[in-house]
């Protein structure tokens, strides 16, 4: 993050903390990055006058003009593919996919080019770009608006995949993603866009490749990311009332995985569970469970649990509540362990 630290002072460096939504924090991160580095350009569907369907780019076109942020034609492969060309020329494009499922038309460009260009060219052509994806569900969206796509990106060598769970991280991690020389898939949990935190921006939190212990505990490690961090924290609060001490780790970086931070926690608690919205089968939780087990097997009293969506397509709005992991379901799942063995 040194580039960021050395950057020119942001507009209001001494602002007093005030309630900031994740959407606003992301907006500010884009604004500051664009102000500091004229290589940063932003485009996608509806990011211009509309400010994005989630308003993350609100007001940016008015301030930076159409040469820095503009509406592209409606074609995701086109958006990512042209971003590849722009990055080859030395720009730092930040593109928006409107929802996870609408990044799928860009799949080939992301997997066969974004992920591989540096490797293909032995590092001669780095591809600094950020693909922002409003991700996951719990927003009452109709079909295709609530997918979780992280398993696809994390299974692809060459991509860096991160996801903030709160406004401070949203700001700091997006700045770091834009400053990175690697292409970053930046997943923004839709259901957290409007959640607020008291914050004075700009802010620099931990490096984006590190997991963070958000709440300390001794009995269980809950590994969460993006939208499920709140779920984990809620579960920890509820569990505390029943005398169960839960440590909550916000993974933040899905690829790379912070083995160190997670391992330390798991070796302490000897029990771990990972929570995500996506279907369990083949989901990112599989990687988490597999690698945590691999590296900490003899410290584990019980198998790493995966508390995830069912192995079904994401359901319609009226049914999503039954599909998504809740704090209750987390606690219920933990109860399945044989606690006497501990």
């Amino acid at each position: 993050m040194s580039a960021l630290a050395e950057a020119a002072p942001a507009p209001e460096p001494l602002a007093a903390p005030k309630p900031v939504t994740m959407a606003a924090a992301l907006n500010r991160a884009l604004r500051d990055a664009m102000a500091e580095d004229d290589r940063v350009v932003v485009y996608g569907e509806d990011v211009g006058p509309l400010g994005g369907v989630f308003r993350v780019t609100d007001g940016l076109q008015a301030d930076f003009g159409e040469e820095r942020i503009w509406d592209s034609p409606l074609a995701e492969a086109g958006i990512v593919g042209t971003a590849v060309g722009m990055a080859m020329y030395g720009l730092r494009p930040v593109v928006e996919m409107q929802f996870d499922a609408f990044s799928y038309p860009a799949f080939e460009q992301i997997v066969s080019h974004v992920a591989k260009m540096r490797n293909r060219t032995k590092g001669r052509l780095p591809l600094p770009m950020v693909i922002r994806i409003p991700c996951a569900g719990a927003i009452g969206g109709v079909e295709h608006h609530s997918d979780s796509s992280e398993a696809y990106w994390t299974a692809t060598p060459g991509l860096t995949v991160v996801t903030p769970s709160n406004p401070a991280d949203a700001y700091s991690m997006l700045r770091e993603a834009i400053a990175s020389d690697d292409p970053v898939v930046f997943m923004e949990p839709k259901s957290r866009y409007w959640a607020k935190a008291e914050l004075a921006l700009p802010v620099e939190t931990a490096p984006m490749d590190r997991a963070l212990v958000l709440r300390e505990g001794t009995d269980v490690t809950l590994l969460a990311y993006g939208p499920t961090v709140t779920t984990a924290l809620d579960a920890a609060t509820a569990a505390a009332e029943e005398g169960l001490s839960i440590e909550v780790v916000d993974l933040r970086s899905l690829s790379p995985f912070d083995d160190e931070t997670v391992g330390r926690s798991v070796r302490k608690t000897s029990r771990a569970a990972v929570i995500h919205e996506a279907a369990q089968f083949g989901g990112y939780g599989a990687e988490v469970a597999a690698r945590v087990t691999e590296r900490n097997f003899h410290w584990l009293a019980e198998p790493v649990l995966r508390i995830a969506g069912f192995d079904i397509p994401y359901p319609s709005p009226k049914l999503e509540a039954f599909h998504l992991p809740t704090a209750d379901r987390v606690l219920q799942a933990l109860a399945a362990w044989d606690w006497d063995l501990a």
Partner: protein, 371 residues
């Protein structure tokens, strides 16, 4: 309701002036601009009028219900009735329709029950009607993807020697997607009986047509696929109907696909959660409201003496009846059954889903079925 117009050879560009049979004042157009198409018979036009009025009433009603929170979302087709009703009315019952989220009123015209149409937008399930019975695919969300389904189904029908056509709607924005291109091309190369009806309503959410294409007309694209292309006034239901009907018949007769662009306007916001004041002027909306497709046909029918007070009242009553039924259906508690989540994922039963179903069943039992 059959027309017989010889379609032009493929390697020509459509006139830049949209083809119309009724002008905005409701006068019948003659000469060049009709592209050789004749105004449909009066009873056909009356029926189209009835369908449009009912459709609009439905659309307005559903938008209102959505504002009241009865639906999760609703993409209105207000102002696009001539395209939606005109094109769908050109299909026969055995033809297949491939609609998008925008085409709820087309589905209504197709005879699908309002409550079944709205299952998806209420959020009860992804889709609520019987595709096979209505020969209508589920309303597509991923843009342009359904166009390929329309081509594939058309080709299958052809391989089976069933003389049917398929019609798919696309938005102006959707024409930018790779899938649209592949659909146009597969249809042309395979000569499938497919009609591509592009509703150019000037916007893709907030993005205006000029940022979507540099083509003079979207119908210009057709020639690049070796397929006839029509550039039609999409607020003239007579033209939409006549051209689409000819295309459908051409398709059924084995002469391949047709591309039709209907030039129209999305009067409402993209969906209820959109704020169009951010990207367009009220003036522009007003301009288009003055080119209302229903008023245009109404003027013509009145001038022809085909629309009297009695008929008007009858249609209004039908529309009100439908609106009432829709309100009623949307105020009834929806039927959702959580355990059904596991029922339709695979044909072959999966143990892992059975296990998950049991877990949910136990949870529901413990909680009394609520979450």
């Amino acid at each position: 309701m059959s027309l017989n117009v010889e379609l032009p050879p493929t390697r020509t560009l459509p006139p830049e002036k949209p083809l119309r049979l009724l002008d905005n004042a409701g006068h019948a157009v003659t000469g060049r601009d009709t592209g050789g198409f004749a105004l449909p018979e009066l009873d056909t036009l009356v029926e189209l009028y009835r369908r449009m009025v009912v459709a609009r009433r439905f659309d307005v009603q559903v938008t209102a219900l959505t504002r009241q929170g009865r639906l999760a979302t609703y993409p209105s087709a207000l102002g696009q009735e001539a395209c939606e009703i005109g094109a769908v009315s050109a299909l026969d019952a055995e033809d297949w329709l491939f609609p998008t989220y925008r085409e709820s009123i087309a589905l209504l015209t197709r005879g699908i029950d309002p409550a079944e149409i709205l299952v998806a937008f209420r959020g009860d399930w992804h889709n609520g009607y019987d595709q096979r019975a209505h020969r209508t695919a589920a309303q597509a969300t991923p843009l342009a993807t359904q166009a390929l389904h329309a081509v594939g189904l058309a080709h299958a029908a052809r391989l089976r020697h069933d003389p049917i056509a398929t019609l798919t709607f696309l938005g102006d924005g959707a024409t930018s997607e790779g899938d649209a291109h592949e659909a146009f091309n597969f249809a042309a190369v395979w000569q499938t009986p497919t009609v591509f009806f592009v509703q150019n309503n000037q916007y893709a959410i907030s993005v205006p047509l000029a940022r979507q294409t540099r083509a003079r007309t979207l119908a210009d694209k057709a020639v690049g696929y070796g397929m006839p292309g029509y550039h039609v006034d999409g607020n003239d239901v007579a033209a939409v109907y006549a051209v689409t009907r000819a295309a459908v018949e051409r398709a059924r007769a084995g002469h391949g696909p047709t591309f039709i662009e209907g030039v129209t306007y999305r009067v409402e916001s993209h969906t209820n959660s959109d704020d169009p004041t951010r990207y367009r002027q009220a003036r522009e909306v007003e301009h288009w409201k003055r080119r209302d497709p229903i008023e245009r046909l109404e003027k013509y029918l009145v001038s022809e003496g085909a629309l009297g007070d009695e008929l008007r009242a009858e249609i209004a009553e039908a529309a009100d009846g439908l609106a009432a039924r829709t309100r009623e259906a949307m105020s009834a508690e929806p039927h959702v059954s959580p355990l059904e989540l596991f029922d339709h994922v695979y044909a072959a039963p999966r143990r892992q889903l059975a296990e998950q179903r049991e877990r949910l069943a136990a949870e529901l039992e413990a909680s009394g079925g609520v979450r």
